[in-house]
Structures are given as C-alpha cells and as structure tokens.
Symmetry: C2
Subunit: 128 residues, 2 copies
Amino acid sequence: MSQPPIRPSDGELAILRVLWSRGLSTVREVHDELLKDREMGYTTVLKLMQIMVEKGLVTRDESSRTHVYRASQGEERTQACLLNDLLQKAFEGSAKSLVVRALSEAQADAAELDEIQAFLDGLKARKP
Amino acid sequence: MSQPPIRPSDGELAILRVLWSRGLSTVREVHDELLKDREMGYTTVLKLMQIMVEKGLVTRDESSRTHVYRASQGEERTQACLLNDLLQKAFEGSAKSLVVRALSEAQADAAELDEIQAFLDGLKARKP
DNA sequence: TGACAACTACGAATTGGTTCGTAAACTGAG
DNA sequence: CTCAGTTTACGAACCAATTCGTAGTTGTCA
C-alpha cells in the first residue's frame, strides 16, 4: 500500500515543479524554464534529471533521440509526503499545530480563509 | 527586520527538539534523549552542537566545565521558517493549498478540527 | 558530404551534513 | 596524589547533492 517515501531534494523539486506544470518535457524545456529563476548550466539539469530517473522520481521516453521526461508521482502525492515529513520532524506529528502555524504566518486573505473553512466543514461532515 | 533564514538540517532539528522540550541542556542530556530514538555516538552529538553554535542555531554557557546549551530561536519561529520554505518550494506560495493538503492527509479528530475552526474564526474576526 | 548544432553520458570537483576515533584537559573518588 | 571517568576539541572519512567540463553521438542543412 504505502509506497517508498519520496523525498526530493531542492533541485529535484524545482525540476518536478516544471514537469508538473508543463507535463511531458525535454531537458531543454526544463532548463529554459529554470533559467527564468536562476542561472544554471544545461548539463547540470541533465545530470540531475538522469539521477532522478535512477531514483524513480521521473521516467523518460528514450524512443526518440531527445528524451522526454515525466514526473512519476503526481504533485499532490509529493506534497503530502513532504508535509508528512515536516509534520514528524518539526511538529511532533500534530497536524493541528502545523495548520495553526501555517495560518498564523501566511497572509491568507478573507476569500482564502473562507475556502479553507468550507473545506473544513466538508471534513467534519464526513467525520461524525 | 527579517532575520537570516534559519534552515536546520534533520540532525540539527532533532537536537533543537530536545532543547525546546528540555530547556537548558548539556550535551550528555541531549545525547541521552536522542538515544531513545536511535543509536548514535556521544561525540557525534557534541560535534553537531558545536557546529550549531558556530551557525548561531544555539548558544552555550561555557562558564562551567560542562557547557550548557540553549536553542537561540524559539520553536514557533523555526516552525514558521520551515513551513515558509516548504510553502515556496512545493506549494507555489499558496498557504491555502498547503493547509488543505495537510488537512486531507492528517487524521485530525473532530476535537482538533473544532480547534482549528475556532482559530480560523479568530483570524477572520481580525481581518475585515 | 562536411560542418555545425543539439543531445546524452560520464567523470571530477565542491560543498554540506553526519559519523566517529583519538587526544587533551579537567574532576572527583579513593 | 593518582587514576578512572567525563568532557571538549579536532581531524578524518564518508555520503549525498550540486555543478560543470569534456567527449562522443546524432541530426540538419547548405
């Protein structure tokens, strides 16, 4: 049931973000996208993505000369893993204190607060 | 105003957790506490805590032979930093989606959900 | 075809985190 | 006082992440 824990590093996460938003992508496309944020060499991205293949973070289609990459886990699944990790490491497993701290820090506007509240109501309805 | 971002590593965070819960502590006390979770050498903890002094993560009182350590940042401040980091790296800065994902994953019981809701109400009251 | 551009593979250097052994300084009990 | 135990300091090894240079291959096009 539970898959091996996926803990992408910062660099890996940056690449995954691109793959999640763009979908199937080549190294060049990912590199171009990352360049908007910060300077980095093409082969740096290539190497990272090759390692990510070995780790199973991404898969690639090698049928054409230019390989095409895809994130092997969905964004939500990965977000959940990272949150769970932080939850254990820094919040003693208490989701409540994590959520409260997140809400305290973030400048969520009223509309967002409403959405969160609605979501919360839905949860409570499902839990008698 | 904003302090330099504090990003403790996993090992450092484990030590900070002990300092937060115990308060002023010696290396031995921290080591004993960490041993409950996993095997590790005394000098490993010592070295880590020495490095943390250099980084400013902890301060120490060297007036007695056995140094006494203290976390230099409060737990909440550090939690906020870590959450903010994750927010940017994995949630595109959207606190709402972070909170929603946390609530979806966690098995918060009804009482906890109530507390969160109360907190949310408080927030909304303060934001016209 | 020949040259240039794009792409992959790979090795090497660097950095940061973690681990621990050893040595030196100090403390306290006998 | 002496010695065994405790503590600090420090260096070395190791691993993972990151970065990039170089080499070799493939595709394009003039």
